[in-house]
């Protein structure tokens, strides 16, 4: 319980830190906007002053921060002065798409990588292990951008899957099954790219921690008691290996979000990625900050989820005997 509270507190502190960081950026941002206005002779200084007052820019920094946090809590994610509208609504639909992509990719990655890692660790130095090891190190070492471009080239050239966007043009007219199928076909490419990037990393970690545990005295002791191989692996080794593997989750998530930015842009998936990129190129800084903030929130939430899993899997942490990592 204590661990949970500590982790919750940590997550909140982290949220505070990230928000402060992002807020500091927002403070840097609007200056230029009004500076430009000031250069315009048609806009009187009074108008600018009123505008500043309207957006609360003449108030002290802590109040502005509170204000910003409030808008964050409301889901507005700050105010885009250029468009005169809150950033939130724009962001939410995009974030949902990103979430759909990354959550699916995460689940699939772990579903594939964990058994592979366990299998690899249990058949150490044999053919299967060598093969899995070689392919996962290849997967890790090929940069994501290359994977993305190469898969895209294959997909575009041979028209294997649907490329571009998230749904086809007549999506709304399709039956439910048709909709699912359409979405699936669109997801296939971005998901494959993310899987190719992620499986290697997770498989390696799982293999490393399981094989470390297979060498421990208690696994030897369990073997000496005549417990079967499968039970040994999945009932004895895997629960202990879960701790370091779950700790990897946060790191994995950071990589995944970065990769999904790339993948979304390359495959035209309407997620946070293209949005933040367009915003960066068009200097729409509020959107950039809000998207960064949102992705940070996603990560913190993911990490917190991992902490919950840790508590469920490791009694030592429940009793405050050991710290994660």
């Amino acid at each position: 319980m204590r661990f949970l509270l500590r982790r919750l507190l940590r997550a909140l502190l982290m949220l505070l830190g990230v928000s402060l960081l992002c807020f500091a950026f927002t403070q840097m941002a609007p200056g230029s906007f009004f500076d430009e206005m000031r250069l315009n002779p048609q806009i009187s200084p009074e108008t600018i002053a009123t505008l500043r007052a309207h957006y609360g820019l003449n108030r002290p920094v802590p109040i502005r921060y509170a204000h910003w946090m409030l808008s964050l809590a409301k889901g507005d994610f700050g105010y885009c002065i250029a468009y005169n509208s809150p950033v939130g609504p724009l962001l939410w639909t995009r974030a949902k798409n990103t979430l759909l992509l990354t959550a699916t990719a995460t689940i699939l990655t772990w579903l594939i990588a964990v058994p592979l890692g366990v299998w690899s660790a249990s058949s150490r130095r044999r053919l299967a292990d060598r093969f899995i090891g070689a392919s996962s190190s290849l997967m890790i070492s090929v940069p994501e951008i290359v994977v993305a471009v190469a898969l895209l080239a294959v997909a575009v050239r041979w028209r294997l899957v649907l490329v571009g966007g998230m749904v086809s043009l007549g999506f709304d007219d399709l039956s439910l099954w048709g909709k699912v199928r359409d979405l699936f076909l669109h997801m296939l490419l971005p998901i494959s790219i993310l899987l190719l990037g992620g499986i290697g990393v997770v498989e390696r970690h799982v293999r490393a921690s399981v094989s470390e545990i297979l060498d421990t005295p208690y696994m030897n002791a369990a073997r000496s008691l005549g417990i079967g191989r499968m039970r040994l692996l999945f009932r004895h080794a895997l629960p202990v290996a879960a701790n370091p593997v779950i700790s990897l989750f946060g790191f994995f998530l950071a990589g995944l979000l970065g990769a999904s930015l790339l993948v979304e842009v390359v495959t035209g998936w309407p997620g946070l990625g293209p949005l933040i990129l367009e915003a960066t190129l068009s200097r729409d800084l509020y959107v950039v900050i809000a998207a960064t903030m949102l992705s940070a929130i996603l990560m913190i939430a993911g990490n917190f989820l991992a902490d919950l899993l840790l508590i469920a899997s490791d009694p030592r942490i429940r009793d405050g005997e050991a710290h994660a990592q």
């Binding site: 030897n220 879960a242 009694p315």
Partner: protein, 324 residues
């Protein structure tokens, strides 16, 4: 007289470390364990006694090679199929490992870990298993069984952990228990308790016990037979009583002398000790392994490998002093 329970013939084990070279850990061991008998194996660190324990159950690391045979119930364990071996481990031969703190799974409840052994070897229903686990915990001297069943490793003290490990070992009523330094990682105050528990259990179920230790005081009055190991060889064996009272090999004599030396407090004079160190297993010299440290060495000792002699009935010793 019944036949031996376990028969080890010419057992040789060597490690091939990655850094190169060969480490001869066991060299031509011959021994027999009779049913229901307590056999003590005495040796210092590096004598190969722990290697022996894991070889008997074929739990050696992949870098080890072994030859010879370990016959148990008419089957050679060194060549038996893995599935056959799995059925023997834990049910017919059980191992009590050295350090209970690292020999139990840290994230599984103690009760489940004992029940896992029952599950692997016996066809019992869930409730029967539960019943048995509680019974076993009582047997190894726990009073608050309810708490222990649901406890995790980190919630137990050192002595409790060792009791749990013993419960695992005796769960399927094996005919042989191998205990590898069962008390070396415990507080000295607990040694007696744990040894008494072991002694009681084996006596009650007529189990054979192979007790491996570096401390002669543990074996005195407990073991029926005693074997002394040095540098991967068995250098002396015989009835415990007679070996302890009248050791034949100079090494045994020195080793038993050490333990007496410590207890009889008498300041300012030197403690009895054996000069030198165990030979490096990477560089094997000809002749008797103990020759460089031996106080009674003869000229031939440096060049001739001693065979095993039997200077009196039921005593065996590997020392040229007893050759004729």
């Amino acid at each position: 007289m019944p036949g031996p329970l376990l028969h080890v013939k010419d057992l040789r084990v060597r490690y091939l470390p990655e850094s190169g070279g060969k480490v001869q850990a066991l060299e031509g061991l011959n021994l027999e364990i009779l049913p229901g008998e307590v056999t003590g194996i005495l040796g210092e660190s590096g004598s190969g006694k722990s290697t022996l324990a894991s070889t008997l159950l074929r739990l050696l690391p992949a870098s080890a090679e072994c030859s010879g045979c370990v016959v148990f119930e008419g089957e050679d364990l060194l060549t038996a199929a893995e599935s056959k071996l799995r059925r023997i481990r834990g049910s017919k031969i059980a191992l009590i490992p050295q350090d209970p703190a690292v020999s139990l799974n840290p994230v599984t409840r103690v009760g489940e870990q004992i029940s896992e052994v029952l599950r692997a070897h016996l066809r019992l229903s869930r409730s029967e298993r539960k019943q048995r686990v509680r019974q076993l915990l009582v047997e190894v001297g726990f009073e608050d069984v309810d708490r222990i069943v649901d406890a995790y490793l980190h919630q137990l003290s050192g002595g409790q952990r060792q009791r749990v490990v013993i419960a695992q070992a005796i769960a399927c009523r094996p005919s042989l228990i191998i205990a590898d330094e069962p008390t070396s990682k415990l507080h000295s105050e607990l040694h007696c308790q744990i040894l008494a528990l072991l002694a009681n259990t084996v006596a009650q179920h007529d189990t054979a016990l192979l007790l491996i230790t570096h401390d002669p005081t543990i074996l005195a009055g407990f073991a029926d037979r005693l074997m002394v190991m040095y540098a991967g060889r068995l250098i002396e064996q015989g009835p415990a009583e007679s070996v302890m009272r009248r050791p034949l090999h100079p090494y045994t004599r020195a080793l038993i002398g050490l333990s007496h030396g410590h207890t009889s407090g008498n300041r300012a004079s030197h403690l009895p000790s054996i000069p030198g160190e165990m030979p490096n297993p990477l560089h094997v010299m000809p002749g008797c392994r103990f020759e460089p440290r031996c106080s009674e060495k003869m000229g031939v000792c440096a060049t001739t490998d001693p065979q095993t002699f039997s200077p009196e009935s039921s005593r065996l010793v590997s020392c040229l002093k007893y050759g004729n």
